[in-house]
Amino acid sequence: MKKWKAEVWFGLVFLIFSLTFFIQSLTLSYSGADGLGPGFFPLWLSGILIFLSLCYIYNTFKSEESQSEPMPRGTELKNIVFVLASLLIYLGVVPLLGFVLSSTIFLFALLYRYYRWHLNIGISVGASLFLFWIFAKVLSVTLPVNEFGW
């Protein structure tokens, strides 16, 4: 019972996605000056996707055994949530602290479990500075920086 649940949820995500697009495409004109309007492709594609997601959900309900892995849980879930959370916080922090400082903190956080802190600081600072050098100096890309310019 537990196994198919995850797949059904994922099928539902596609269903909601396609339903949203389907409803939105009804507001676009279906035919245009030369036959096809901006609504033609969206309507058909999202319509087909609705049908396919329903098939998929039906199938996963029907089939007893599932070849794929179950939803992440336990350590796996924790790890993924941790990585994602760090990533989102990083994105929030970077415009304020600048690239080098926030990247260092980001790397330090992700490496914390595997390396002792002094080694970790070395790696984090080194990698951040190196990337900053490559992107900002060698390739002259504009990176988000703090008021000191890094």
Partner: protein, 333 residues
């Protein structure tokens, strides 16, 4: 547990970041009050197109020229902010602080056309225009083996055969599209637009005989005329650029239609008058610089100055005029 520690560390850094931001804001406020020594740091000139675009080249030429005349030896840095159908960069200028350190190099497309579609946060009068810098007309071009030798012959054909003549554009509602639709309205004819996504694609379409014509920038049209592939029938703009005096303007043919592609420097609304003057003067002097004029000629655009008020007037006029055209062809309500 360790992860928890790390997460809280990250959150702490977020809070720290917040503090440092308030500091930044207050220090910049102080800066805003003392305007006399503007500028104190490099000025950003945002271009809403990618590197290699002609707008970017105009911006680079002007920025380099203006650096000579900007006080305090500060520089003008060109920043490309492409994306969002060239509206992202304009949106950024619109939302920037009106302190003179963020300017935009925008074209008729962002200033008059995009707002008409009603999906942008800015409209034709949401910016503080500084000056109009360059203009360029477009040419109605057909393949050289087309049956029409002159504009009159072509006009006669399209009058007799409505909706038969196809031309390539760089997108619905683009300046290329507008210029042909203006001609359609003025001459009371019907031609059919086929929308592509880039200038290169439109040239391909005409070369391969997939569409019968296109409206092209002088620089592009010139090359293919030289190679014997294309023939230019008319100039859809308001003036004759150097070297193209023999191409008739529509108004010489008794048709009231002219569309130019203009590019100019704008700032966010609310820019203090004294700062506006500093920037305006520097760019105006740059525009009059012979070296800058020579470089602009090389990329086939014509320097054409208009001051802030006049520039705004032109933007508003074209906004209204193009709005009419787009309404007539049903692209907007």
């Amino acid at each position: 547990m360790k992860k928890l520690v790390m997460l809280s560390l990250l959150i702490l850094s977020l809070i720290l970041g917040g503090c440092s931001q308030t500091q930044t804001a207050s220090s910049e406020n102080n800066e805003g009050q003392a305007n006399s020594d503007f500028p104190k740091k490099p000025i950003q000139l945002i271009v809403p197109y990618a590197s290699g675009s002609s707008t970017e080249m105009i911006a680079r030429v002007l920025a380099k020229g203006a650096e000579k005349y900007i006080p305090n030896g500060q520089s003008v840095v060109v920043v490309n902010k492409p994306g969002g159908a060239a509206t992202i960069g304009a949106t950024e200028v619109h939302g920037a602080k009106p302190d003179g350190y963020t300017l935009g190099m925008l074209t008729v497309s962002q200033l008059s056309l995009q707002p008409l579609f009603g999906k942008t946060v800015f409209t034709h009068d949401s910016f503080q225009p500084i000056l109009k810098a360059t203009v360029v007309p477009q040419f109605l071009t057909v393949k050289s083996d087309a049956p029409w030798k002159t504009f009159e012959e072509w006009l006669e054909y399209v009058k007799k055969n409505p909706n038969k003549f196809t031309y390539a554009t760089v997108g619905a509602g683009s300046t290329v599209h507008i210029s042909m639709e203006a001609l359609n309205a003025a001459a009371n004819i019907k031609t059919k637009a086929v929308h592509f996504e880039s200038g290169g694609e439109t040239v391909t379409a005409v070369l391969g005989g997939h569409t019968q014509g296109a409206s092209l920038l002088p620089q592009t049209a010139k090359e293919y005329v030289k190679s014997g592939d294309f023939r230019i029938l008319a100039n859809l703009g308001s003036y004759k650029p150097e070297g193209h005096e023999d191409i008739p303007l529509l108004k010489e043919k008794g048709l009231d239609a002219e569309v130019d592609v203009f590019t100019g420097v704008v700032a966010p609304k609310g820019l203090p008058k004294d700062i506006q003057k500093v920037i305006h003067d520097a760019f105006k002097q740059a525009l009059e610089d012979p070296e800058v004029q020579k470089q602009l000629k090389e990329i086939d655009v014509d320097p054409k100055y208009a001051g802030p008020e006049e520039f705004q007037k032109e933007i508003t006029e074209s906004y209204n005029e193009y709005g009419e055209i787009l309404k007539n062809i049903g692209l907007i309500q």
